[in-house]
């Protein structure tokens, strides 16, 4: 994982930029107990922060948990990740190496028949899966007008309140984007401005093109190989 790039010895250089006011006058020997305490706090913090599925920023972690233990940041992160994996079967993943944003994903293969999400969450995931499939099958990028045209066919309208999803436009353009499931960019030279949708970094980590292709194939009752180019792209991604 990208956050373990540097070795333990270089304490200062791992600090985020702009934190020059922290001058380690003495390299305090952090006791194992103290570190473990911080690790536990971080694990709890991550689990709670993950409830809304909004990615967690390193700045928040530093401010709320690490605080004066900045020099041990990467060690704490590493141990927290290990705890998450060994105890909860989750994984801490950095989805943005520049801005240092993390998400939690499930390390275990999704067992059949397990109800890990509840009603409302499940329905949103259903919609999300449909959208991600559409985007992938259409070449990894679709215009918002095309997406809404497609959702029309499923009785989902941007302007109308949906019985299950409520304000769908908000759900798709704000919630899914903020959770990093979808990414939206503006198309140049369009008036009124149009946007295109692609898979967000969380979608890249939580699912795969192969899985999504399998979903489409299952829905349409066809073999995934039916869509030759998508199939080859999906298999390229996994290898």
């Amino acid at each position: 994982m990208s956050q373990r790039k540097r070795s333990k010895g270089l304490g200062c250089s791992q600090l985020p930029d702009g934190e020059d006011d922290f001058i380690p006058t003495q390299v305090e020997r952090r006791s194992q107990e103290q570190l473990n305490q911080k690790v536990s706090e971080l694990v709890q913090f991550l689990l709670v922060k993950d409830q809304k599925k909004i990615p967690i920023k390193r700045a928040d972690i530093l401010k709320n948990i690490i605080r004066e233990y900045k020099d041990a940041y990467s060690e704490i992160i590493k141990r927290a990740d290990r705890t998450l994996q060994e105890v909860f079967g989750l994984q801490l993943v950095e989805i943005d190496a520049k801005r240092h944003i993390y998400i939690l994903i499930n390390n275990l293969p999704c067992a059949q028949g397990e109800l890990l999400c509840r009603g409302k969450e499940q329905e949103k995931m259903g919609l999300l899966l449909v959208i991600l499939s559409f985007i992938f099958m259409k070449g990894n990028s679709v215009k918002d007008s095309a997406l809404w045209e497609f959702l029309h066919l499923l009785r989902v309208y941007p302007g109308k309140q949906h019985g299950v999803f409520g304000d769908v436009r908000k759900l798709v353009t704000e919630e899914f984007v903020r959770q990093k499931y979808l990414e939206t960019t503006a198309i140049p030279l369009t008036d009124p401005p149009e946007f295109k949708y692609q898979w967000g970094p969380r979608a890249e980590k939580e699912t795969s093109k192969k899985d999504v292709l399998n979903f489409v194939a299952k829905m349409q009752g066809k073999d995934p190989k039916f869509w030759a180019s998508q199939y080859s792209e999906a298999n390229k991604a996994t290898t």
């Binding site: 993950d50 409830q51 995931m125 070449g139 029309h152 499923l154 829905m219 869509w227 998508q230």
Partner: protein
Amino acid sequence: MSHAGTSGESPPAARRRRARPPQPQERAAREEAAEAAQEEAAEEEAAGERLRQLSIGDGDDDDREHNRMIRSQYRELISTVQQNREAMLNSKSNRLTEALEEANRLFDGVCRAREAALDAHFLVIASNIGKEKASELHSEMSAFDSTAFAEDLLTFMGINRTEVEETDESEDIPGGFLPTGAWQTIGEEAPKYFRRAPTFHYMMGSFKSEPPVPKQRIERQRKASRRKAERAMPAQLKKMEESHQEATEKEVERILRILQTHFEDDPNTPISFFDFVIDPNSFARTVENVFHVSFLTRDGLAKIKLDEDELPIIEPIKPSEGGEEEDSRAGARNQVVISLNQKEWKEIIETFQIREAMITPPYQATEEEMETE
């Protein structure tokens, strides 16, 4: 392919191209895009020529009217193209070509830079669309029929299809009713494809979660209602202001009357204090009775003394006796603290076999008082 030199040549050339045998959709669309590009290129050349020939001048009114019309037609064309962008991108449609041909026709009437500028604007938009159309073809994705996919999804969700008349536009929504659990069905299928971390929740809830907030609201409501009650109170209090003070006094008076009544029946036998105050049914009332009786003794309306058996007895003092008994009264200004707990209370009831209260409880008293009066 060879460039058509002037606009005059392009229609026959186009006709030749269109005369080719019918081909699979993709290639036809590609051709359409290429045609469009061709035509644009041809247009550009022609436009370039004409611009060179343009004379800059106002012209007369007819010209102005003519130009205005051309400008409005161009603007209409531009807005049509922009609004129907999706329709134009549809690989099956020829609408982009039609729009280009329309612009072609309009351009024949253009003789000034102003209209030509509009034409150039249109060209930018049309070429953008053309580029997108081309890029959609360039993608190596195998043809994916989203409509069929949507239909299959609806089927999976359990749609109830009914017969509905279809209109011409294929973009119309097919008929049928989605059952209420439709998205739940997909929702059950979806998690299998995601490695989503289950959200963390405390099983028993955490300490500092929501409950305190409603309590505060309740407290505020209570305080608000208390305040309102207090505001209402003064109005009532003015009417019954004396009631609180009087209540005790009334009680005391009532007890005095009871005492006097009992004493009148039998003036020579003083009443045992315990018999008088104890209410075998209620310890609380017993204490109240003692409290009220203490007022009587304080005000000199009754006296308590010990009899031969050293048991306290109580008897009312007649006001006329006041002068004679002054000494004894002055001497008898003693303070006594009587303590009584429940155990003693029960023992007294047992010992003295007190079956009923001599001092009737206040709310029962009304009936009795009415009887005696």
